[in-house]
Symmetry: C2
Subunit: 363 residues, 2 copies
């Protein structure tokens, strides 16, 4: 009364069961290689597998998910896909998930709280097994995530740390990075150095600055506060470009002298370079500029940007590992332990920095 409904092309497990002569239970056990499969006769296995292949059977994911309560998907939330920081991270995430045959559900919160919440709900509704949040340029409150962690959904943030012990995190060692940046310029002989700090609300800003300060102190370098600016808070991750340009302009107009500039991130650095170039200051001949992040376009800019690299792709992959570890943990009813990874930044020397010219190097 139901079978063979003309051209209903979906092959169900029952079809496989019937044509192979076994019961759906057996078919399920064989095809999933479930624990009970130990007992199944090899001949049976073979027959079932063959008919499954012959009929072109593909399990219905939804039925499977419903029953097994596993969706084989992981939510991936970010706050602006146009942020060049995001793409390599996403690449890393995607790639790692692909290895585990998990599907990512991407959600771009546009740095809007309601969007963030709505997407969060959607993911919960879909029973994502884990959640990864790329939270680099973040101006919304993501405390909500703590609840997620409590709900026993393993979660990891990239570029942000949440207080509490429910959410793992992967961040770069910003302090070391800041230190590295300044150290590089210092070793090139620069002494009068300008700084553009990150927006106050960004979590990265403080530690990077701390690293800078610590190095300055240890090297006996004095930071001239007249050469220090701070980007304003802004939802737009590319706003650093404008900011970098503006502050550099101001410095130049105030006739401040400096032979090098440390920018909060690559976009800020590019903005600074644009301003310098426009004002006739050659980079790197007359002024060195160093960025932070090593977003892909840094290699393409003119001049190619010297910068502090975050291992973005690796960080994405790492977050996936952390989350998958969590997934497996509470699958096996083990305790999930929260991880806090801090990756090591790396100096990438390109064409925007150069030894301080004799002319420029006063002090």
């Amino acid at each position: 009364m139901k079978r063979r409904g003309s051209k209903d092309l979906t092959v169900t497990m029952r079809d496989v069961a019937e044509t192979s002569g076994f019961s759906p239970a057996t078919v399920s056990i064989v095809l999933n290689n479930a624990p009970l499969a130990r007992y199944i006769a090899p001949a049976t296995k073979k027959r079932i597998e063959e008919t499954a292949k012959k009929l072109g059977y593909r399990p219905n994911a939804m039925a499977r998910f419903l029953r097994s309560k596993r969706s084989h998907s992981v939510g991936v939330m970010f706050f602006d896909i146009l942020d060049p920081f995001c793409t390599p991270v996403l690449r890393g995430i995607e790639n790692a998930l692909y290895q585990c045959s998990y599907v990512p559900i991407f959600a771009d919160a546009h740095n809007q709280r309601n969007r963030f919440e709505r997407y969060l709900e959607m993911m919960l509704d879909r029973h994502v097994e884990g959640l990864i949040v790329v939270a680099n340029w973040l101006f919304v409150d993501i405390q909500l995530l703590a609840d997620i962690g409590k709900r026993n959904i393993p979660a990891a943030t990239i570029g942000w740390e949440l207080p509490g012990d429910t959410v793992s995190s992967v961040i770069v060692d910003n302090e070391a990075g800041g230190r590295l940046a300044l150290e590089h310029l210092y070793q090139l002989g620069h002494r009068r150095i300008a700084f553009i700090r990150g927006p106050k609300t960004l979590i990265d800003s403080a530690p990077r600055w701390r690293g800078i300060q610590k190095f300055a102190q240890s090297a006996g370098l004095e930071i001239d506060s007249a050469l220090v600016a701070q980007l304003p808070d802004s939802f737009d991750p590319n706003s650093g470009f404008e900011g970098g340009m503006r502050f550099t302009d101001e410095l130049l107009q105030k006739k401040k002298r400096f032979t090098a500039l440390v920018a909060f991130d690559d976009l800020t650095a590019l903005g600074a370079i644009r301003a310098l170039t426009k004002a006739g200051v050659k980079v790197p001949e007359q002024c060195s500029v160093i960025g932070f992040d090593d977003v892909p376009l840094s290699a393409l800019s003119a001049p190619a940007l010297t910068t502090i690299r975050q291992p973005l792709e690796a960080m994405g992959a790492l977050a996936v590992n952390v989350v998958m570890e969590g997934v497996n943990a509470n699958l096996e009813k083990r305790d999930v332990n929260i991880a806090r990874h801090k990756t090591t930044p790396e100096l990438v020397i390109r064409d925007s920095t150069r030894a301080a010219s004799l002319a420029g190097a006063d002090d």
Copy 2:
């Protein structure tokens, strides 16, 4: 024997039914505002809705999908997320899908055939209701998509057209774009113009070149074949940068004279600019360069790139509309009609082009 199992925090529809005093059927009808809801007494509706809210009921997406055979998700396939072309398109797609409360399932094929196929399978298994393929920098055979279309899953490609009538497409009018590019340089007074054509296998290459040729012909401009190069096929969408750099180098080394250059895309243009700058040729003072696409980084490069813009975000949104139209169509058992959209490119003038200097303008 089952209810109230200590702290099983998931509220099911049955819970709502029981505490509100109605049957699951009624609850379902009310909460979904199904056709039958016309008959339900307002008081009942109210009571059900209230208890649902009070209990914090959230429908289990998987159960719903299983029964209704609608997954409320759309597959989004692309071939390299690191391609700057992709991100604005993805933004457009994401945004449009969000409006419809559909969830995107992102898949990055890395320009690999097996990955493409595997992801395709995953999406089919998950019963995506539609499929969008961002196929700009494409070196794999995607004929498989035709099958998808036949399976009654509405699909749309962006930046590529498939023969046959099963898959919709959204592409820019490349010919008009090519024409626009050359026209701009011509109007600026350039006559000796170099060209870097796109890789032979890319679908965009030919029409852009055709547009260029047609304009040249109509304007009586002669294209010097010694000034024309063609990028090699390459899986890397950023390879245009290298290519642009190399070909420009060669031209310079051969002492070819030209006052302007039309690049296949923005990355190629940036590569060309890099080579020119390195050789001491100032852009735009001594040589104008124009790109194609207007990827985000074009505005940030130094000098900011004049280019032919594709309305990338809008194209993404358009593809979503096309697909959703298809989804609705075969939901209402209407016929799905395939759409072929061609969007209009637009000249964006920035700082990399300038009127031909008297010195440079010979001919």
